[in-house]
Amino acid sequence: MNGGPDKRTGVLSGIRVLDFSWKTVGPWAPRLLTHYGAEVIHVERADGWDSHRYNATPHIMSDDAQPVDLPGARQTHIDPQFNTLGEEKAVDGKEQQVLYAAPYFNTLHHGKLAISLNTKSPEGLQLVDQLIGKCDALVENFSGGVLASWGLTWEKMKEINPRLVYMSTTGFGHTGDWKGYRSFGPTAAAQSGLSLASGLPGKPPAGWGFSYLDVMGGWMGGLALVQGLLQAKKTGKGARIDYSVTEGAMSMLGTYLLDYQVNGRPTRRPGFPPGNRAVFPALAPHNTYRCAGRDRVGQDWWVFIACETQAQFEALCGVMEQPALALDPQFATNEARVAHQDVLDDIIGRWTRPRRRYAIMRLCQEAGVIAASVQSAEDRVEYDPQLQHRQMYPVIEHPELGAVPNEGYPVKMSRTPAFVHARAPTYGEHNQYVYGELLGMTDEEIHSLRERGVI
C-alpha cells in the first residue's frame, strides 16, 4: 500500500476527495491536497485508463515493455504530443499501448489512492453515489455535460451530500455558447490571450511550452478546492465551483485588458510581445544572451541578465571589465539604454558567448546584478543547489520502480508542514480498501463486481 490510506497526517487529514480527474490540469488540483494529508481517491474507469498511464516502461525498470491485457479495455488513440517517449508495440498490425507506472502519471497522482470503476454500468454509478456520501469533495475535469450524462447533476450530488464541495475544471465553463467546447492547456492559452503574449516581435507566438495552463490551471483548481473546503468548514454548506481555465488565464491578463480599455493599446500590435525584453517598465539590459555550450539535444545554452537600477548597470560594466560603457552617452541612463538596446544586447552577447552560463550567473550575482541561467529539468534536478537545499525532490519507494525521486511541495508551513506522503498508486490498488472498508462490501461482493466488469 502506498503509505496506507489511514495513516495520513496534516491539516487536511480526515478530508476525503473523490477524484475523477484525468490528463494534467485536473489531477494537479487534488494532488495538492494530498500534501496536506487529504485522502484522495483517484477513480480510473474500468473500461479505459487515464492516458498518462500509457507511456512505455521507464528504462530504469525494463527495456522490454509488454502491453497489459485487461478484460474490457477499450483501445484508444492518443495524440503523440502527449505520449511522450514510449513507442507503441505493433501486435497483429495494430498499435497496443502499454500500461505502466509512467512518469507523468506518477507525478500527478502521488499520494493518492486508486480504484477502478465502470461508470457506464448502472451498478458502477450506484457505487459513485455511495462514495459521494463518504467524501467531502468531488473533482472532475471532463468536458461539460459528462457527469450529467451519468445522471449525476449538482442537485443530485447535493441531495446525497449537502456538505459536498464539487469542483469542475473545464476549458470554457458549464454555461454560455461554448460550454460544450473542448480544451487542453494550449487551447485555453491560445483563446485567453496568453499565447500571444509570449514570443519574439514579428515571429509566430512562442506560447507556453511547459504547458502553463495545464500546470497553473491545476494549481488554481486546487486553490478553489481548498477554498471550498474552508467555506464548507465555516458554514456547513457545500459548493459548486465552475472553474473555466480560460477565464482563469484571462484573470491573470488584467493589465493588458485594462490598458486596452484605458489607453486603447491592444496586445496585438507591432513589437509586442518583445521577446525577453521588458516593456512596463522599459528596462535595458533585460534579455537572454547566448553562452558557451549547448544541451543534450543541441539547443544552445543561455543566460538571462537584467539591470533594474543604474548601480546594477554600472556593476555589470565592471563584471564585463568594460567600465567605459557606463560613460558612453548611449548607455548613460536607463532611457538611453532602452533606446540603444540592440547595440547594448550585442555587446553583452559578445561577452557571454564564450563564457559558461553558471560562471556568468555567479559573477553577476556577486556584483548584485540580476542574472539567471536558463535551466533545464536536468539542471534543476541535478545541479541546482537551492532546490537541493529546499529538498524539492524527495525520494519515495515504489513497488515497480524502486526508490524514485518525486517533485516536492513549495509551501513550508511552520506548524502544520506539508510534504509528499506517498508514491502514486498502481492501477486499482485500493479497490479492497475503498469498496471493502469504506463501503462495507464483503470479499464475495467485491469479487462479483470484478467478475462483471463493474470494477
Binding site: 494550449p186 507566438p205 485588458l257 543541441g298 529539468a377 534543476r380 509551501v411
Partner: protein, 412 residues
C-alpha cells in the same frame, strides 16, 4: 456578496511579487490593508499609466493587482512607525510580505516579534525562500522563468533561437498561487486549532514545480525537452501544430483524434475547401491506420495544415469545436471583450474609476461560484487614501498625532 475570506483583516507589505495574492484575498472579501512607502508601492511606478504619463495614482498595472485594497502610506524604517505597524498586526489575521529575507527583523516585523498575536498567519513570498545558498540573489520575474525552467520549455523549434519567457509576471503569479494555498490551508487549520503560523513560500520552488512533464521525463528517462514553436516542449522533435490561417492568425491544432465522427467531418470540410488530397483512399477508413499515419507520416498532417490555411481563424475554431475537435485560436486578450460567451457567463465587472471619470470592465476572476464570491470589490486605492482612517479608527491616533506624523514625513 459573501466571500470565502469575509471577516479577515490582511496586512500586506507592498511589493510587486505578492500583490496578486493580496488582490485575491481582497476579491474574496478580506479587508486588505496595503502598507506602502510614502513614495508609493513599486507597483505604482512600473506602468502602463493612463495616457502614458507617470503618476502613482494612474498606474494601470497597480489598478489591476490591488482591487478593493486600502492604502496606508507609512515609512516602516522610521522608529516611530514600528509600534504602529505592530499594533495593526496585533489585530490582523494575515500578514503578507515579500521583504528580502532577514530584513524585517530590524523593524520588529519578523515572525518571532509578532507571535504575541497567536492567531496570526504570516506568509513571506520571496525569490528563494528564507534559506539556502541562493537566498540573497537578485531576481525579477523573467529571471525566475529562466532559472525555474519555464524558458527552457518555451520558444521556437529552431535550436539557435532564444528560449522565451512569456510576458505578464507569471513567475510571480505561480508564487502567489502557493501563497494562497498556504493561507487558505492555514485558515482551515485555524478554524479548529485557533492558532496561526509562519508560511515560507519560494518563487523559485514554485516555478521549479511548474514545468509539467519536463522533470519526470528527466528523472525517469534522462530526456531533455526540445522547444517547439507555440506548443508543448517534448523529448521528441515534433511537426508543427501551431498553424497559420487564411486571415493571418494561428490555430493550435492540439490533441488531434481521428474517431469516425471527427474524421468524416474533417474530410467533408477538406472537400469543401478542395484540400483533401489522397485522404479518400480506403486505407484511411481504418482509425488505427489514421492514427499511425498521423504519428509517423505527413499525409494527414499536411492536409490539416492545408485545411487551416484555407479557412479563417474563427471559422476553424468554431467548426472544429462544434465537431468535437479541441483546436484553439490564438486570440489577443482584448479580443475577449467581444466574445458573447464570456458575457453570457457574466464574466466582466464594471469598476468605477473617478481618476478617469468612468467605469472599466474588469475580469471577474477564475471561478464562477457564489459560495466563494471571488471578484473585484472596488478600485485600487490612491496612494495614502486610507492613511487617516486607519490611523484614527484602527490605531486610535488623534488628528494632532497624525498631523505630526505627516509633517515629519513618516506617513502620507
Amino acid at each position: 456578496m459573501a466571500g470565502v475570506y469575509d471577516g479577515l483583516t490582511v496586512v500586506e507589505l507592498a511589493d510587486r511579487r505578492n500583490q496578486w495574492a493580496g488582490k485575491m484575498l481582497s476579491d474574496g472579501g478580506a479587508r486588505v490593508i496595503q502598507i506602502e512607502p510614502v513614495a508609493g508601492s513599486p507597483g505604482r511606478w512600473c506602468g502602463p499609466f493612463v495616457d502614458d504619463e507617470p503618476d502613482p495614482d494612474r498606474c494601470i498595472d497597480y489598478w489591476w493587482y490591488n482591487t478593493g485594497k486600502e492604502s496606508l502610506a507609512i515609512d516602516i524604517s522610521r522608529p516611530v512607525s514600528g509600534p504602529l505597524i505592530r499594533d495593526l498586526l496585533s489585530q490582523a489575521d494575515v500578514f503578507l510580505d515579500s521583504a528580502l529575507p532577514g530584513t524585517l527583523t530590524e523593524f520588529g516585523l519578523d515572525y518571532p516579534s509578532l507571535k504575541s498575536n497567536k492567531a496570526l498567519i504570516h506568509v513571506s513570498l520571496t525569490d528563494f525562500g528564507q534559506d539556502g545558498p541562493w537566498r540573497d540573489y537578485a531576481m525579477n520575474d523573467h529571471a525566475h522563468l529562466a532559472l525555474g525552467g519555464q524558458m527552457s520549455s518555451s520558444g521556437y523549434s529552431d535550436p539557435k533561437e532564444t528560449p522565451i519567457g512569456g510576458q505578464g509576471r507569471h513567475a510571480w503569479h505561480m508564487g502567489c498561487a502557493f501563497v494562497l494555498h498556504g493561507i487558505t490551508v492555514a485558515l482551515f487549520d485555524r478554524e479548529s486549532s485557533g492558532a496561526g503560523q509562519y508560511v515560507d513560500v519560494s518563487i523559485h520552488d514554485a516555478c521549479a514545480l511548474g514545468t509539467e512533464a519536463a522533470v519526470p521525463q528527466w528523472m525517469y528517462y534522462g530526456s531533455t525537452m526540445y522547444r517547439h514553436t507555440g506548443m508543448h516542449a517534448n523529448p521528441k522533435r515534433l511537426p508543427p501544430l501551431q498553424l497559420p490561417t487564411a486571415d493571418g492568425k494561428y490555430i493550435i491544432a492540439v490533441m488531434q483524434n481521428f474517431g469516425t465522427r471527427v474524421w468524416n467531418y474533417l474530410l467533408a470540410w477538406m472537400d469543401e475547401k478542395g484540400v483533401s488530397g489522397e485522404l479518400h483512399d480506403p486505407i484511411f477508413q481504418d482509425e488505427a491506420y489514421r492514427m499511425s499515419e498521423y504519428r509517423t507520416g505527413s499525409v494527414i498532417r499536411d492536409a490539416v495544415a492545408r485545411l487551416i490555411a484555407a479557412s479563417d481563424g474563427e471559422e476553424c475554431f468554431h467548426r472544429a469545436q462544434e465537431n468535437g475537435i479541441s483546436w484553439g485560436l490564438v486570440h489577443a486578450a482584448e479580443e475577449n471583450y467581444d466574445v458573447a460567451h464570456y458575457q453570457q457567463r457574466d464574466y466582466w465587472r464594471e469598476i468605477e474609476h473617478p481618476e478617469i471619470g468612468r467605469a472599466i470592465p474588469y475580469p471577474r476572476g477564475p471561478f464562477d461560484c457564489d459560495a466563494l464570491g471571488i471578484e473585484p470589490r472596488g478600485r485600487a486605492p490612491q496612494l495614502g487614501e486610507n492613511t487617516d482612517s486607519i490611523l484614527t479608527q484602527d490605531l486610535g491616533l488623534s488628528a494632532e498625532s497624525i498631523s505630526a506624523l505627516r509633517d515629519s514625513g513618516a506617513v502620507r
